[in-house]
Symmetry: D3
Subunit: 227 residues, 6 copies
Amino acid sequence: MYELGVVYRNIRRADPDVAARLGAFGAATVHEAMGRLGLMKPYMRPVYAGAQASGTAVTVLLHPGDNWMLHVAAEHIRPGDIVVAAVTAECADGYFGDLLATSFKARGANGLVIDGGVRDARVLTEMKFPVWSKAISAKGTVKATLGSVNIPVVCAGALITPGDVIVADDDGVVVVPQALAQKTLEAAAAREANEGEKRAKLAAGVLGLDMYNMREPLQKAGLKYID
Amino acid sequence: MYELGVVYRNIRRADPDVAARLGAFGAATVHEAMGRLGLMKPYMRPVYAGAQASGTAVTVLLHPGDNWMLHVAAEHIRPGDIVVAAVTAECADGYFGDLLATSFKARGANGLVIDGGVRDARVLTEMKFPVWSKAISAKGTVKATLGSVNIPVVCAGALITPGDVIVADDDGVVVVPQALAQKTLEAAAAREANEGEKRAKLAAGVLGLDMYNMREPLQKAGLKYID
Amino acid sequence: MYELGVVYRNIRRADPDVAARLGAFGAATVHEAMGRLGLMKPYMRPVYAGAQASGTAVTVLLHPGDNWMLHVAAEHIRPGDIVVAAVTAECADGYFGDLLATSFKARGANGLVIDGGVRDARVLTEMKFPVWSKAISAKGTVKATLGSVNIPVVCAGALITPGDVIVADDDGVVVVPQALAQKTLEAAAAREANEGEKRAKLAAGVLGLDMYNMREPLQKAGLKYID
Amino acid sequence: MYELGVVYRNIRRADPDVAARLGAFGAATVHEAMGRLGLMKPYMRPVYAGAQASGTAVTVLLHPGDNWMLHVAAEHIRPGDIVVAAVTAECADGYFGDLLATSFKARGANGLVIDGGVRDARVLTEMKFPVWSKAISAKGTVKATLGSVNIPVVCAGALITPGDVIVADDDGVVVVPQALAQKTLEAAAAREANEGEKRAKLAAGVLGLDMYNMREPLQKAGLKYID
Amino acid sequence: MYELGVVYRNIRRADPDVAARLGAFGAATVHEAMGRLGLMKPYMRPVYAGAQASGTAVTVLLHPGDNWMLHVAAEHIRPGDIVVAAVTAECADGYFGDLLATSFKARGANGLVIDGGVRDARVLTEMKFPVWSKAISAKGTVKATLGSVNIPVVCAGALITPGDVIVADDDGVVVVPQALAQKTLEAAAAREANEGEKRAKLAAGVLGLDMYNMREPLQKAGLKYID
Amino acid sequence: MYELGVVYRNIRRADPDVAARLGAFGAATVHEAMGRLGLMKPYMRPVYAGAQASGTAVTVLLHPGDNWMLHVAAEHIRPGDIVVAAVTAECADGYFGDLLATSFKARGANGLVIDGGVRDARVLTEMKFPVWSKAISAKGTVKATLGSVNIPVVCAGALITPGDVIVADDDGVVVVPQALAQKTLEAAAAREANEGEKRAKLAAGVLGLDMYNMREPLQKAGLKYID
């Protein structure tokens, strides 16, 4: 399934501007714009509330309890990337901490998404380096076994191809395949176009029932009101 | 078990003043005052730390991945209500986000309790609209199948009858049946009456062992001290 | 396995100064310095983000749904202690709240670590009394059955002997056996000695690959770069 | 929410013949016939594969780690009943074992459904006394605190009123409210009426696509076939 | 990420003979032969103990609570296939039961692997139709939303491309990409070649320490024996 | 906390006859006889239903994903031992399969208890080599890092000292400290002495209420009967 021991140096990345603009819409809107696909499992949580990031994926495949390949990946980060790390078995050790965060940040990474644990949570919070992970754990890791960098990986139930767009915030992590990025951006923009107007109406007390014309379909579906 | 496709328009609500005063005691005290009953399962967590709410229950029964009935429920919210949403199967999709929150707030809702997921967590936090849920997930839902509004529901292991009092904070969500609301309020007040005095004693270094006269029962139970 | 119904009044504590200095290194560093041992399971989380504590362990064995022995333990707390509570079966009720926290604080406790639930989360946060627990739950407990104080206990997968050093923060809870405290302190200090220098290099864009001389071992392990 | 310390001696039970005939259809068919409602959460598993039971519910409310009320309930079992036990908090101790099973069987019980743990799994299997539970655990319980018998309870996410029909097998546990038992029986019978014919067709290689006339709706929904 | 509403009719399948021979080695050996990759998460369990199957993958993408596409997939099953079903969100409803099993069997399917629930567990066991699933649940599903057939899917953490080899037994489910099937078969055969000899030695009391020449590496690693 | 890289060759074992006789009582009775202590967490399940074993503990400390020390432990097994394996972090890989089982059996082991995964479940079942584990997984492990043999370990929440008695069956795994083995045996025998008589009474329809004289304490506790 996975190719082990390889690093792909030249990957084609999605347009960074598209990635940034998708990020501005947030995970929920982008996920809707994708047809409700591409969301990682909801156990992926930000290390600190309010974290937001988007970027192009540099992927890493790790072995359980071994973070060697995160160091290899660092060399291949370009400004605007988000590192996405999968692990070949479930293991919530702390693969990533403040030193790697310092390095990733210096290389221009916009964040990390890892289907495992991280540590130095307080420092990551202070640094405002956004990380989405499955767990927080002080348990360190070794550097002993080769994984790979920039191969397609499965992370938290989603398939990520290097260069795909990642959009992550408090609501979770969404993957937008490179080929769909532009189209998804347009769909997201269309969704948001009249959100402000809708919000104003709802805030004024207009019901969604009326705003979305739901009364007729509800009646057709057989809804009964009982006084 | 459940009546599907119905909306009860006229429910009898607990006294809103009693609901507000119960809320001031908080979930832990009210739960004690209920004889340690009525607590939802502890997987129900507030979307933001420090959330507090109380009110009278408007109940909703949803189908997995379908939030249609939340829109129907909005029309039946009165100021001081808390919407309590159950789902007919376990599904942690994001049934509720910032638009519905805007609408619920405009209708006067004090909060939402949902045995499923919600999204737009950051906006909910900024709006200070208190929500207790099982998960946070960007995954949206459809509007396709009829559930019900204001029927008795089981939510996170607790039975809620429309009009019951809900008290929720960082410690969880407690349901006070309407018929027990006044009595529970009195019991909660009695519990709290000398809490300040107790706190002062304990803060001064007095031991609970002495303040609660536990030394004799401990000795009778056979506790041995070894030097 | 456990001795029930006993309180050991005189325990030998680790050097409080060593405990304090270990605390300054944090859980992740101390855990590494221990040879990656002694960490409680990662389900142990602080009640509020940013909590930090270290101290010498006063241990308590509780029965499910019964917090009687926490009151007994209070009498045996000395300034600088951390209370570590194990439960004889899995039960996430709220064994500890603001009154006990007031008492523990007055006795000089630096915090609580409990393989169960706690309540009054908001007040604990306001008091800045640091607590690590498995759950937050409004559910109260009874005072009916004898456990023990200051016997060796298993808490969240770790063995704690009374007087051991506990180091806890956002990354989890580490136990340092008394006999290893001084040696662990030295190992932690050695680890940290050149962290500042490393951080500066990484922040300047130096790669871990070069700083840690990983290129040669990676090549030996067979890593292939593909352009 | 719950009335504590009471035993309702005279409950109205669903027709035992209807209960037996519902049992013959099995949990999956009955659940469909109910409109896909009334199913307990899927963590409820039979102690031995192939267990099957149906009957009228005698309900019990237990406290965590306390099985006293199961003894009280035994007196109120009539032939054809199934005991349904809820617990006021999550606790997977072993509340029920071979002695209680012997007693329940002697009283004519058809089985036990418990939102907690049981023990003596091997003997229960040998006795062929069917039990659905959340866990198997050797941990025994005390007899100290009053719960209730034959009050409405919430068990594994479902509401059970005494006298309701319970249908349980390898697929889970379904609750049929007494008032709906006859109607559900008819719906189940209707569902099953042509199942044999359908099965024969499918076994002969006829596709569900054709048997259920799905080709047109699939086309309308936009399904594309790609060669 | 996924293409929705499409059915690929012509997929290239791995050599059925290779699939059968891989199946004979079992999941554990094949997983080792793959370099310890390609295993689905261990929550995937057989419906009955002792189930064994191998074959070529026909993939299906389902929506939560909707099994429509399983009917579509049935038409595309060829003898020797195993259906692998992914779901776009976590939902443990019972998507598959005895009627679909009858149909799949009639089409020549060797089994089903589904990242969701199934029902009619007793009948599946009697039919000896092998199924690996995440849950058993009586909860039925609707037929309302288009997914896809024979697109690449992520199922229980593994990526499956249509036509890949699936090997499943009590130890779990392994995916062998079509391109690696022959090579994996050879590696599995090599692993097993002298297993019989090894087993005989171990059965005669020879230690793995000696048979695998571990004593020297253990000594080098610093193992100390204490009498 | 743990001593790494050591093997204690000479441990003092509990009396094998006492271990065998404790085993005959089963986990539930022995756990009661211990005062309801010493039970491992209920996630520890037998690989096949009906498994039963008892013996003296040979302990092993493993690193996640590494089974090297199980080979080292094999040399130190004496007839009548049960190997108890702890892992320094949560990792459900398959550390143990048919070859190690053949070796352990040849050395006279009565079974294995492991806080991790095992594989070759079908062969273990055929061999009737009893194993209690946290998971079943085809995922193999490496042999790279030193743990220890015959040091005290924490396994599934229980503390095991080498030589302690282990009693395991379908109900779980109980640890009896060596020093308490004889006393626990007597307590277990006393508990069982009149079980046959009790069972006969209950089978004849006598109620536990009467047999255990519970009516008076129930009345004192305030139980109310309502007709």
